[in-house]
């Protein structure tokens, strides 16, 4: 199987790879870089667990070929913030108990980030629409929406 060169920026760092045509972005992140925050569940763009930002836009990384991400800038949940410096959304998810099993959480955070980057003051309805591409099989939607609303309204404890 032929391999093709790509260069891209992931969480601020530059990388180059040689990849096969059928490698997906989610495989590149998880298997080549061990960025295991990005989850894969359905593999068909239905569940949103693999959501990352590609050039500032939320995408299902299971539906993007790694080769299609050539030249782009990717942000995964690891690039959002870490234990040393949590992103306000991550802080809010902890504070509001918006995490149950945790599998959907990275995707939820990245969809929330895309929403707030484009609409810093969404209504509760707009938050719901912004998360429409993400499933939580624990059905913990209320607390997830509460957490994002807290960030929007600046109600986070420091």
């Amino acid at each position: 199987m032929p391999k093709y060169p790509i260069e891209l920026k992931i969480n601020g760092d530059k990388y180059s790879f040689e990849v096969e045509a059928d490698l997906r972005l989610v495989d590149l992140l998880r298997n080549h870089l061990q960025l295991l925050g990005t989850k894969e569940a359905c593999g068909k763009g239905e569940c949103g667990a693999c959501t990352v930002l590609m050039d500032g836009k939320s995408v299902a990384s299971c539906l993007v070929l790694a080769l299609q991400a050539n030249g782009s800038e990717i942000i995964t949940v690891e690039g959002l913030g870490g234990e040393a410096a949590l992103h306000p959304l991550q802080q809010a998810f902890i504070q509001y108990g918006a995490v149950q099993c945790g599998f959907c959480t990275p995707g939820m955070l990245m969809s929330a980030k895309f929403l707030l980057d484009n609409n810093p003051r969404p209504s509760r309805e707009e938050i719901r629409a912004g998360l429409a591409g993400n499933l939580c099989r624990c059905t913990g939607y209320t607390k997830i929406i509460d957490a994002i609303e807290a960030v929007v309204e600046g109600r986070l404890e420091r």
Binding site: P2, E20, D22, A60, S111
Partner: protein, 285 residues
Amino acid sequence: MTTYFAPSTLSEAVAYIHENQTAKIIAGGTDLLVKRYEELDSMTGFMDISHLAELKNIKTGEEVQIGAMVTHGEIAGHPWLLQHVPLLCQGAAAVGGPQIRNRGTLGGNLANASPAADLAPPLIVLGAVAELAGPQHQVPLEEFFSGPGKTIMQPNQIITGVKFTKPAANQGWAYLKLGKRKAMAIATASVAVLVAVEDGQLTDLRICLGSVAPVPSRAKKTEELLRGQRLDSLELAAAQAQLQAEISPIDDIRGSAEYRRQAAGPLFRRALLQAIKNAGVEPDA
């Protein structure tokens, strides 16, 4: 062996696909990679046109032209389109969820030729023409689809965009979609209506339905029945019955044929009344 080629110009793309007709043209990947998931080994190669700048323009004015690589998200949020062609924006906003709209393209939605494609009914009532390259060709979108997943495109052709005339001020519109949930749903039935209203009269209208026939289809007999009727004496019950008689839905995972036929009637009625209301006239119904 899966190969990959990303042309940097349309002419490069046309030349490549002419030589490599088994290569799959990939854009946003939101349909193709879902299918590919189940048939990993049947892909011989990809030609990736998602980066083709030539196909990413939106030309506004009396004649609107939208490039095939414009995404659903770009259409749904385009300020000029929102003001002048909100019908199309509503169709684009009905596609998938945010992640799908950020990748999925107009060209992909049409080339994939799903009977449920959300952009097809709005574009068909707008009278859109599909523009193809390879052997260059222009075809009314209404004649573009030939069956579920099938179009009249030759293996060496690429859809480069659509064009249509900007709707007039006396026109009203609606796009309604029936699905299992608001997000990510593939339509069980959908309907786009475009009406022209003058002096309390429905002077012209186009109706196009999705998911109730092998291809997105005009309900021409229903249009004919309603054309010229006065808004204060619209024969809504007769129109609804005519519409239900001229569609040909099937049973599938999203709904039975009978359910679709039943549901399409009121869905159309609501869309018609909404379109008339949009044209600035309140119907007496």
